[in-house]
């Protein structure tokens, strides 16, 4: 089984909040048809949603649940389309390990903390968290500061990290990292 690759996305936080609020409202009102429309569900998936006691019950199921899995996939697709723009994908499966453990980065506390935030999936909305997956985000200022601080260490860093720094510094806005979107 191959290790997943980290991708970098430009995050539109307002759009993400908008989609999230819409989803929350539909679930709270248990508006199945509204939810089916938001997620662009086909007839079969819409029927599956309608068969539940409450739509939120389906959303609480495990990611790998056969009934819920295609609905989660639709939800992530909608969120990606609305709020994320793909910037870059690493070619190296070792990037996450390097970011988490490379001693030159770990010795710089501010850099290490920012990287940990960027790789902390708990900070993502529940529908972007995936079991065993890596993900996280930084706002525009934090992203720019991290890119500059890491760039200054460039000669001491391995190629896969420098490629990441180049992508991080070359984009604008908030950054979201994920390996399973």
């Amino acid at each position: 089984m191959s290790r997943p690759l980290l991708s970098l996305y430009r995050l539109d936080r307002n759009k993400l909040q908008e989609v999230s609020a819409q989803l929350r409202d539909l679930l709270a009102r248990d508006d199945r048809s509204g939810l089916s429309a938001l997620l662009g569900l086909g007839e079969e998936l819409a029927r599956r949603l309608a068969a539940e006691r409450w739509a939120v019950g389906l959303m609480l199921r495990p990611d790998e649940d056969a009934q819920a899995s295609p609905i989660f996939a639709s939800l992530r697709r909608v969120v990606k389309r609305a709020a994320l723009e793909h910037v870059w994908t690493s070619e190296s499966p070792a990037l996450e390990g390097r970011l988490r453990a490379y001693d030159v980065l770990r010795e710089e506390q501010d850099i290490a903390e920012a990287i940990d935030r960027l790789l902390d999936a708990v900070r993502l909305p529940w529908f972007l968290q995936r079991p065993g997956g890596t993900g996280g985000w930084l706002d525009d200022d934090q992203r720019e500061t991290l890119a500059q601080r890491m760039e200054a260490l460039g000669p001491a860093l391995p190629d896969e990290i420098n490629a990441f720094v180049e992508a991080l510094g070359g984009m604008d806005g908030a950054a979201l990292v994920h390996d399973r979107l």
Partner: protein, 240 residues
């Protein structure tokens, strides 16, 4: 351990008989040499202000638990339950709260007065209010406790959890959705454990938080939420 010593000598005696022996509630005196004798009544034989004989003080009862208290209360042995609480109380937390509530129920003002400052110090203060609210049916009493919990800084997830436990379907669903967005791992755990959703798995990331809150709620429910409500009215109302 005295409980085990007694159990070893009298294997057919039930728990309550052993507990009574430990707590000095038996008519017969304990057998000399069977372990450290429990300290019985106050040595000066004084009665409290209400003319009530003091509860027996005990030592060596560390192996008793809140479960023993609940079992004793369920059997109608309220004095025995109070004696166990007095023995296992460490001066903070749920045991102190229950001890104070039981003292209030028994109108033992001396003990209530002694314990109230400890209950007031209980931290986080919002948690007890919400645990009691969770042990109550929907109604003004529950809403009042939630409002007090919010005032004391109850986090959004705790309020969402409480709503998710409502007996009203719409309220329960809205609470579950709030909880999903506040703390998805806890939402899954509450849905699986409290709401009986068969296809949802308990989330191990949330199980510690779940049990810390739910244990208190369940114990209070079995103990008698009304007694703890009365105690909190004293605590929050500031009456002497």
């Amino acid at each position: 351990m005295l409980l085990f010593t007694l159990a070893g000598k009298v294997p057919l005696v039930g728990f309550f008989d052993r507990a009574k022996a430990v707590f000095g509630l038996q008519k017969d005196s304990p057998t000399p040499g069977s372990g450290p004798a429990p300290r019985a009544e106050r040595s000066d034989g004084r009665q409290n202000k209400a003319g009530r004989p003091p509860l027996p003080e005990v030592s060596g009862a560390a192996s008793a638990t809140i479960e023993d208290v609940l079992v004793a209360r369920a059997a109608g042995s309220f004095d025995e339950a109070r004696a166990i609480l007095a023995a296992i109380d460490k001066g903070q937390g749920l045991r102190t709260v229950l001890r104070a509530a039981a003292a209030l129920e028994a109108r033992d003002e001396d003990e209530v007065t002694t314990l109230l400052p400890l209950v007031r110090k209980d931290s986080p203060a919002w948690q007890l209010r919400l645990q009691v609210a969770a042990a109550l049916e929907n109604g003004p009493g529950r809403e009042d406790l939630v409002a007090r919990g919010v005032k004391l800084g109850a986090p959004a997830w705790s309020i969402a959890w409480l709503r998710a436990l409502s007996s009203n379907d719409d309220e329960q669903r809205a609470g579950l959705v709030d909880l999903l967005f506040e703390d998805a791992a806890l939402a899954r755990t509450v849905a699986a454990r409290d709401l009986g959703f068969a296809d949802i798995k308990v989330d191990n990331d949330a199980i510690r938080r779940y049990t810390a809150f739910a244990h208190g709620r369940d114990v209070i429910r079995r103990f008698g939420a009304a007694q703890v409500v009365a105690l909190l009215a004293r605590v929050d109302g500031g009456s002497p």
